[in-house]
């Protein structure tokens, strides 16, 4: 059973091909201005080097953010198209849970959201899996940790994830209609907030 795993919502993109529960090949790298230009050539090379085709991937896993709006759309669009064409199973996960999988124990997973803000979720991990303690949310980094100075050492932002731990967790969710998948933006577009009188 081959699994393709992708995430493009943070500055780093993750790309991995897993067979059963063994990582055959993976990449966690800084993408260029947008991940589409770097990740797709990498995916093509990765498949070639393993002598595999995209059609061999029976399960597709994609990160859906939160994170960069432009970034998170990339993996989501690619994943849903592959799932539609091949009638492969599609699963989604939070980019924060992917990032959290990098470390054991208590973890605060963070992605920069600019102006001192971050997307954040709190996890407690074992050697084999990850467990969520709080929902994905936007926080002001300084304010949030002001009363938790000792917790700052538990922050993870860009360490290479342990994707097997992620796949073993409850964090991967089946997407029953691949076409319907959208990123988790968390925030409304500013113009929409204004129109609804929320600003």
């Amino acid at each position: 059973m081959y699994k393709l795993i992708m995430d493009t919502a943070s500055d780093f993109y993750y790309l991995g091909i897993v067979k059963d529960s063994e990582v055959l090949k993976e990449e966690y790298a800084l993408g260029a201005s947008n991940h589409s230009e770097t990740m797709m050539p990498s995916l093509s090379k990765m498949l070639d080097s393993l002598n595999l085709k995209l059609k061999d991937m029976e399960e597709i896993y994609t990160g859906i953010g939160p994170g960069s709006y432009t970034g998170e759309r990339i993996a989501v669009v690619i994943a849903k198209m592959i799932a539609i064409m091949n009638k492969a199973k599609l699963y989604s996960f939070s980019t924060l849970s992917l990032i959290a999988s990098a470390k054991d124990g208590e973890v605060y997973s963070l992605i920069d959201a600019r102006r001192g803000n971050a997307y954040m979720a709190h996890f407690i991990n074992t050697k084999d899996s990850i467990k969520r303690l709080s929902e994905d949310e936007v926080i002001n980094t300084e304010e949030y940790f002001i009363s938790k100075e000792d917790k700052k050492s538990l922050i993870v932002t860009s360490t290479k994830p342990d994707v097997i731990k992620l796949l073993n967790s409850d964090e991967v969710k089946i997407v029953s209609d691949p076409s319907s998948l959208s990123p988790n933006y968390i925030q409304l577009v500013e113009a929409e907030r204004k129109r609804r009188g929320l600003l």
């Binding site: 230009e37 669009v77 198209m81 500013e190």
Partner: protein
């Protein structure tokens, strides 16, 4: 040769199957226009989000409408620019996924070339050819000696034709998008107001429309100040006449200077009835071609038709294809 094409440069998500650079087997278009009525214009981040929501459904519909299986497609084409980066990326990433999955070559297409080639749907172009591209984002005169030989001879120095229609619509309290509504109310009006024809006496091929927009604003404000009753129908009709006059003068002069055999008028504003009639009545002795109305606005069929001629030249893209907000022909 079957081409599957994607277009998502602005606020239309579209996928099409075309055959041999001529025949449209399907052209599935999901428009976001109803969403942007509430905003008075396109909001790029909202447009990007809508493209992601729609792309899978539009893709499946295009194949179904064409009664074609993905395995039967020979090439994958996609708009690479110019346009909104976030919007373009959805089409590009979807096209890359299909190209890699089906192991079929990928072609990046210029959106403006797509508009020009919308005139080649079910029609053979004759060269030398002059293309007048008029839309919300573009106003350009392009001379072509042959397929894929583009010489831009003129462009707008400020607003695009579609843009000035939207702005005048706002002045007249008409909804966004302004083009169709100005056209509709203009049909009930008469040409009774003198409005400027900017740059018309200059011997180049450039356009300027912001002065015309200002003149419409001043005209209505002055009449309101002086409590003179007026009909927006007459203002709309007089405005359309001024735009059509400028487009006609530029086009006619280029037809003579470059001895063109065919003129194609393309883009969203090519759907305007005053512009169509004015050009039809005055451009004689050359072939004058307007795409059918459904191919005037943004659509993927025109991208597939243009791609056919790029494929013939052997010009392909690869998995590193990027979105370009600006891209010359």
């Amino acid at each position: 040769m079957l081409i599957l094409s994607f277009e998502s440069s602005c606020d239309e998500t579209s996928v099409s199957v075309t055959k041999d650079g001529k025949e449209v087997l399907s052209n599935s278009v999901l428009s976001q226009i109803n969403i942007f009525k509430d905003y008075g214009g396109v909001v790029p981040e909202i447009a990007s989000r809508e493209h992601v929501k729609g792309i899978g459904y539009v893709f499946e519909k295009a194949l179904k409408d064409a009664d074609t299986k993905i395995e039967d497609i020979d090439y994958i084409a996609v708009t690479e620019g110019p346009g909104l980066i976030g919007s373009l990326l959805t089409g590009i990433n979807a096209a890359k996924a299909v190209s890699l999955n089906e192991e079929k070559p990928l072609v990046g297409v210029n959106h403006l070339s797509g508009h020009i080639y919308s005139s080649a749907i079910d029609h053979t172009l004759t060269f030398p050819l002059l293309a007048l591209i008029i839309s919300g984002g573009h106003t350009e005169l392009v001379l072509m000696e042959d397929h894929y030989n583009f010489h831009k001879i003129g462009m707008t120095v400020d607003d695009a034709v579609g843009e000035v229609f939207d702005k005048v619509a706002r002045i007249l309290n008409l909804e966004y998008p302004g083009g169709p509504l100005v056209d509709k109310v203009g049909k009930e009006g008469e040409i009774i107001y003198e409005l400027p024809r900017p740059l018309i006496h200059l011997a180049n091929y450039n356009f300027s429309f912001s002065g015309l927009k200002s003149a419409v604003l001043k005209l209505t404000q002055d009449m309101e100040k002086d409590h003179i009753a007026y009909k927006i129908e007459d203002v709309a009709r007089s405005f359309e006449e001024a735009v059509a006059d400028v487009l006609l003068e530029r086009t006619l002069r280029a037809v003579k200077e470059f001895s063109v055999k065919e003129v194609v008028v393309v883009g969203g504003s090519a759907a305007n009835s005053v512009i169509r009639e004015k050009l039809k009545d005055n451009i004689k002795n050359v072939i004058l071609t307007f795409p059918s109305l459904k191919y005037c606005g943004d659509n993927a069929a025109m991208i597939g038709i243009s791609a056919y001629y790029k494929i013939k030249r052997g010009e392909f893209a690869d998995m590193s294809l990027s979105a370009k907000s600006r891209l010359d022909l």
